[in-house]
């Protein structure tokens, strides 16, 4: 595939993926929190359940942010190495 087109679809793909995660993420987090509440509320009480829910949600949100950044670092490295390779072969 033409490099420019490849670059366009890679960047577009990552951005759309982030968009999809933003759309479905809240539902996923909500369902996870409901699950945790049903699992833990009677055993550890509401306060601890809330703390655990917050911790889980926080970890997942931070993981998303970390992966978002990582995707772009990967894209950069891929594009950079490809460029260096093209220069050395030409």
């Amino acid at each position: 595939m033409n490099t420019k087109l490849e670059g366009f679809f890679i960047v577009l793909g990552i951005i759309l993926l982030v968009g999809v995660i933003l759309m479905v993420g809240p539902k996923f987090l909500f369902d996870l929190n409901v699950f945790l509440y049903r699992l833990l509320a009677n055993r550890v009480g509401n306060l601890f359940t809330a703390v655990i829910q917050l911790a889980f949600s926080g970890v997942i949100a931070l993981l998303f942010v970390y992966l978002w950044r990582l995707f772009f670092v990967f894209i950069f490295r891929y594009a950079y190495n490809k460029k260096i390779k093209e220069k050395s072969t030409s």
């Binding site: 978002w68 772009f72 950069f76």
Partner: protein, 335 residues
């Protein structure tokens, strides 16, 4: 009533147009408010800066007419104040260069009209029927959201017409979504208010875009970018289309996020030891191949072989258009 609003907008548009021709092109240049286009080193043309003041002038005239005819809605007043506050901060930055931390902090002030004038919703509606009853947290989110959107657009003003084009597409997307929601009965937002808001924003931003698109005859400066970004954020909140607003601004948000996270925090361009891109004498763009140069979205785009300014602009605008359709269809599907 619609005719009055339309005529107010037309008159404001003409005044905004004249303002650009007489004030921005002549007086601003005379006062030294201009620069050269860094992506066109072959061109000696001076480009007036702070053209975003034309948006403020358009909005001021439009609002003045609405006040005169006693037809202004609280939403329009709110958006106007948001725009003016952010625009003023931007204008000060255009003239005096504010500190990298002070500027984003000051843009929090642009969120205050929403807090004080408009009753912030107590529910945050998210896709797939999720909703949170968060009256106080919502207010905090408003105070965070406006600086994020205004600074995201500000950081995305990298090429001719990219910031204005992105804002125009985002506002169009929010407008279309709101209109669809009103038409199908999902929303009881007043049509008159909707018409006023639409005419407050779209003609003014379009006016900026006309002169800022490639090749730029006018730069909007931080006056324009902070103002436009704050407007998109405020519009998303007032229209209760928060997630849609994020989707339409995903490209500038991603751009800011990549730059800030890789750099490790807020930064001024002058702090960069290496520039991310190199501009050749003939205007050809090249990615800086030095490993210590910062990773930016534009540098990534150039590494994929794009080397003309127009190509990169088309790249960004195409993604924005795809996000527009993606945002509208997926929002209608999941909400």
């Amino acid at each position: 009533m619609y005719l009055t609003i339309l005529i107010s907008s037309l008159v404001a548009f003409v005044i905004g147009f004249v303002f650009i021709k007489k004030v921005v092109f002549r007086i601003f240049v005379k006062w030294g408010i201009f620069s050269k286009d860094v992506h066109k080193p072959y061109s000696e043309q001076t480009i007036p800066e702070s053209g975003g003041t034309a948006l403020l002038v358009y909005e001021a005239v439009f609002v003045a007419f609405l006040l005169l005819f006693n037809k202004i809605s609280i939403e329009v007043l709110c958006l106007f104040l948001v725009s003016v506050i952010a625009g003023l901060i931007g204008f000060i930055d255009d003239l005096k260069k504010l500190n990298k931390v002070v500027k984003p902090l000051l843009t929090v002030a642009a969120a205050l009209p929403i807090i004080f004038l408009k009753e912030t919703p107590s529910y945050l509606f998210l896709p797939f029927g999720v909703r949170f009853h968060i009256p106080i947290i919502y207010m905090l989110l408003v105070l965070i959201a406006i600086p994020i959107t205004s600074n995201a657009i500000n950081m995305f003003d990298v090429f001719n017409g990219v910031a204005t084009g992105t804002t125009l597409i985002a506002v169009l997307g929010l407008t279309v979504l709101k209109l669809i929601n009103i038409m199908i009965g999902r929303d009881n937002f007043s049509l008159v208010t909707f018409f006023q808001v639409t005419l407050l924003l779209i003609p003014g931003i379009f006016l900026l875009y006309l002169y800022n698109r490639y090749p730029s005859k006018m730069f909007v400066g931080d006056t324009g970018t902070l103002s436009m970004g704050a407007l998109v954020g405020a519009l998303s909140i007032i229209y209760k289309l928060e997630i849609a607003g994020v989707l339409f601004l995903l490209l500038p948000i991603t751009n800011s996020f990549v730059s800030l996270s890789v750099f490790g925090g807020l930064f001024e361009r002058s702090e960069l030891k290496e520039r991310p891109i190199i501009v050749e004498r003939d205007g050809t763009l090249k990615p800086n191949e030095n490993k210590s140069a910062p990773i930016t979205l534009t540098r990534i785009v150039l590494l994929f072989g794009y080397n003309k300014e127009k190509e990169v602009i088309n790249f960004y605008m195409m993604i924005n258009l795809i996000l527009l359709f993606f945002g509208i269809f997926s929002y209608l599907w999941v909400m």
